[in-house]
């Protein structure tokens, strides 16, 4: 309790009676408007709490919900993009690329759609991964790198069995089904390695060439150049979907693996498929 309330000689103001080491506190009243502003703030707070959801279980009189606000925002954004999306839906990828505005929109949107749907297999930048996830950023295209080919692949998928137009390539199981002996497979593998000058056993490679000519040429071509019609990868290059060691190659001939990609037509808006097409095409420059 304040004890010694006295008048300060310099200012003529009363002290509060508090004293600290000889320092005394002046009792200067706050201005009234300050008080009223404080009351106004309290009143504002009360009104706010009534109108908005402020306490657990209290929904507020306005019915405002954060989630609905977000939904409304998303809807507004979609409405804003709707004309652009309509144009993207109608245009062919080539037309999109020819129109700078459409192209910029498609690439920006494609980047997001890619991250959501494709990146889990093909990597964030389309770099792919050894083991069946093709890189989309290189110049090697199993099914073709033209806009149309990319669009087709995205639409119908690969071995997804969801569409009649799906990409489908089946390599025989030369080892598992007993089509070739273990030694023959070894020889063919040497031959495949020789296509990129990596064979270590020339004799085996020569033996393998004969078997290759019989069994593999139809799909992979004379000199291992591959065939996009049937999705047979090029063997005479440096890009290896399932690994480039002899072991990897032997394994692929014996019991081939075949990756599956879903058909996105029907799952994604055609406009988004077009965006993805343009975006994927831009990653490695397409063809």
């Amino acid at each position: 309790m304040p004890t010694k309330i006295e008048k300060d000689s310099l200012t003529g103001t009363d002290t509060t009676g508090h004293e600290w080491d000889g320092l005394r506190e002046l009792n200067t009243p706050l201005p009234k408007w300050w008080l009223y502003t404080f009351y106004a703030c309290i009143a504002f707070g009360v009104v706010w709490m009534v109108i908005y959801p402020s306490l657990p279980g209290w929904k507020g009189t306005s019915g405002w919900v954060a989630r609905e606000a977000v939904v409304a925002d998303v809807a507004a954004a979609q409405a804003r993009n709707a004309p652009m999306m309509a144009r993207l839906r109608e245009a062919t990828p080539a037309q999109i690329i020819a129109d700078p505005e459409l192209r910029a929109f498609a690439i920006a949107g494609g980047r997001g759609a890619f991250a959501n749907n494709c990146a889990s297999c093909h990597g964030a930048g389309g770099q792919g991964a050894v083991g069946g996830f093709p890189s989309l950023a290189d110049d090697d295209w199993i099914w073709g790198g033209s806009l149309e080919a990319i669009q087709h692949t995205i639409r119908h998928g690969i071995r997804a069995n969801e569409s009649d137009d799906q990409r489908q390539s089946i390599m025989p199981r030369f080892g598992a089904d007993g089509l070739l002996t273990r030694a023959q497979i070894d020889d063919v593998a040497e031959h495949v390695l020789s296509l990129t000058n990596r064979a270590t056993d020339q004799a085996a490679a020569t033996r393998g060439a004969a078997i290759y000519a019989e069994q593999c040429v139809a799909c992979h071509g004379d000199r291992g150049e591959g065939n996009r019609e049937v999705g047979a990868p090029r063997l005479a290059d440096q890009v290896w979907l399932y690994g480039s060691s002899k072991r990897d190659i032997v394994a692929m001939i014996s019991n081939p693996r075949a990756g599956v990609m879903p058909a996105w037509q029907g799952r994604l808006d055609p406009a988004i498929v077009n965006m993805l097409t343009v975006y994927v095409h831009s990653l490695g420059g397409g063809e």
């Binding site: 309330i5 006295e6 008048k7 300060d8 000689s9 310099l10 200012t11 003529g12 009363d14 009792n27 009243p29 706050l30 201005p31 009234k32 408007w33 300050w34 008080l35 690329i97 192209r103 910029a104 990597g123 964030a124 930048g125 389309g126 770099q127 890189s135 950023a137 290189d138 110049d139 090697d140 090029r234 290059d237 440096q238 890009v239 831009s282 990653l283 490695g284 420059g285």
Partner: protein, 502 residues
């Protein structure tokens, strides 16, 4: 404020408004009725007021031809398009530091001026002072001077009272509206936004800020007035750090004025206790009490006292812009002297020119110069065309079918001008490196031509390839250059080319 002790004067003999026991926790404001005053300082204040207001209201209407599709307003903060236009300068969001720099300059200038001349800012150019002064002028014009206003407030609430009051507030609201309107114009094209506001076609934001600024102008200049300076503004609280005993501040020469009393009494000093200085004070204080937080240094009390002294035939300057050092020098020189001409002479003779060059002013001036030089340098060196290159991180590099290595880059051309002529991109890298830019044309030499967007950012994906068989280091420096039609490099930036770990 200084090491000099404040003149000891007995304030205690003023009666307490209420006894200590029932002193209220909250005090109502004592209304201040500043009296009209004439004089040198007042004239300067009028001139400054007119200049400030003219600047504020007129600047948004200045036009500046910028060409097609851009606002022709000389000073415009275009929030929607994220541009600041200032005559020939156009600032982008990443150059907002120029604004920060300008504010820092302003702060140092304020420090420097305060250390030399005290509260020049507060008393003459502060918007609160300027608009309050304007509102007081209207008040005086409609309700009369101090006495008339006091009488009006104490008198009956008759027709005269309500007419004058409503007229005053009406004019205040008009000024406030013009103020809020002018504020909005700094952010919108002035003629357009004026038409929109008047026709009800403006956006909610525009009306909101218009109302916000109009409302606060009315509230602060009409009602809050000196309370803004004493209760709300932080500046008076720490400006003491800038002032010292060599700063020019408004002071009462107590060595000359005291003891105050009747003009004919020989034993009294020059102050005749007429309260002229108190009545003109817009913050309602008595400058004879010494330096006070409430004093905004407007100098109106100087004019008031000077006119009293003039009428009495005594030398002016009883209240004056004076340094505290001189004040105490005079006080020391005249200590014990009887009032009169001799004391006045001795006091004035003891004064010295204020020391303008002092460590603190040198410091402030130095800081001011340093920041100015840096800002000016940054401004002159500021490029209107920038090229930035971001190398893809995922994948770091791509192996191509022939065994070659490819890196992808995103090249951005930031063009802060209206110039649109395309620029050729050239790559400076070791032999064998090849560059491809998607979907662009090439010039006669086969170099890709990149369009630059007028006042915008153009973005390109650039692929750089090293053919199979060529060895590449894990990291190779490369440089991208943009050449204009004449083959001159207008911008360049460097990056690296990533290869596999050897």
């Amino acid at each position: 404020m200084s090491t000099i002790e404040a003149p000891q004067r007995a304030k205690a003999d003023r009666p307490a408004v209420t006894p200590a026991a029932d002193q209220p926790l909250y005090a109502s404001r004592t209304k201040v009725y500043p009296k009209r005053v004439f004089g040198k300082v007042r004239s300067v204040k009028w001139a400054v007021l007119i200049a400030c207001l003219a600047l504020y209201y007129v600047v948004p209407w200045l036009r500046w031809d910028r060409g097609e599709g851009v606002p022709d307003q000389a000073v415009l903060v275009d929030i929607f398009n994220a541009r600041i236009f200032f005559f020939w300068v156009e600032l982008w969001p990443q150059e907002i530091y120029f604004l920060a720099g300008a504010l820092i300059l302003g702060a140092f200038a304020l420090f420097a001026v305060s250390s030399l001349f005290g509260r020049l800012w507060c008393g003459f150019t502060c918007p609160q002072t300027v608009w309050t002064d304007l509102f007081m002028f209207v008040e005086r014009w409609i309700q009369g001077d101090r006495n008339a206003r006091m009488k009006l407030d104490q008198g009956p609430r008759d027709a005269n009272y309500w007419t004058r009051k409503s007229l005053t507030h009406g004019v205040w609201v008009l000024i406030a509206a013009a103020t809020g309107g002018a504020w909005v114009m700094y952010f919108n094209d002035a003629p357009t936004v004026t038409r929109e506001i008047l026709t009800g076609a403006a956006s909610t934001q525009v009306y909101f800020f218009f109302a916000l600024f109009a409302g606060f102008t009315y509230l602060l200049a009409g009602w809050a007035r000196e309370q803004v300076c004493t209760y709300m503004c932080p500046w008076p609280r720490f400006q003491a750090a800038m002032l010292d005993e060599n700063s020019l501040v408004v002071t009462y020469r107590d060595w000359r004025g005291e003891p105050r009393g009747k003009p004919r009494d020989d034993a009294t000093g020059d102050c005749v206790d007429c309260f002229a200085c108190v009545h003109v004070c817009p913050t309602g204080i008595d400058i004879r009490d010494g330096q006070q937080l409430e004093c905004i240094g407007c100098g109106l009390c100087v004019d008031a006292c000077d006119s009293v002294m003039g009428k009495l035939g005594r030398p002016k300057g009883l209240v004056a812009f004076e340094t505290l050092k001189n004040l105490s020098a005079s006080a020391a020189a005249t200590a014990g002297m009887a009032p009169g001409a001799a004391r006045q002479k001795a006091g004035m003779a003891a004064r010295h020119l204020p020391r303008f060059i002092r460590p603190r002013t040198i410091l402030y001036a130095g800081a001011l110069t340093a920041v100015s030089v840096v800002m000016l340098g940054a401004f002159l060196l500021r490029s209107t065309l920038d090229v930035t290159v971001i190398r893809d991180r995922a994948p770091l590099f791509v192996r191509l079918s022939d065994g070659g290595i490819r890196n992808a880059y995103t090249v951005k051309i930031v063009n802060k001008t209206r110039e649109e002529a395309p620029l050729a991109l050239v790559l400076q890298a070791p032999q064998g490196f090849r560059m491809v830019v998607q979907d662009v044309e090439a010039d006669a030499q086969g170099r890709p031509l990149l369009a630059r967007r007028a006042d915008g950012i153009a973005q390109y994906r650039v692929l750089v390839t090293v053919p199979g068989g060529q060895r590449v280091a894990e990291s190779t420096p490369v440089t991208f250059r943009l050449l204009d039609a004449g083959g001159r490099a207008v911008a360049s930036t460097s990056s690296t080319f990533a290869g596999p770990r050897p």
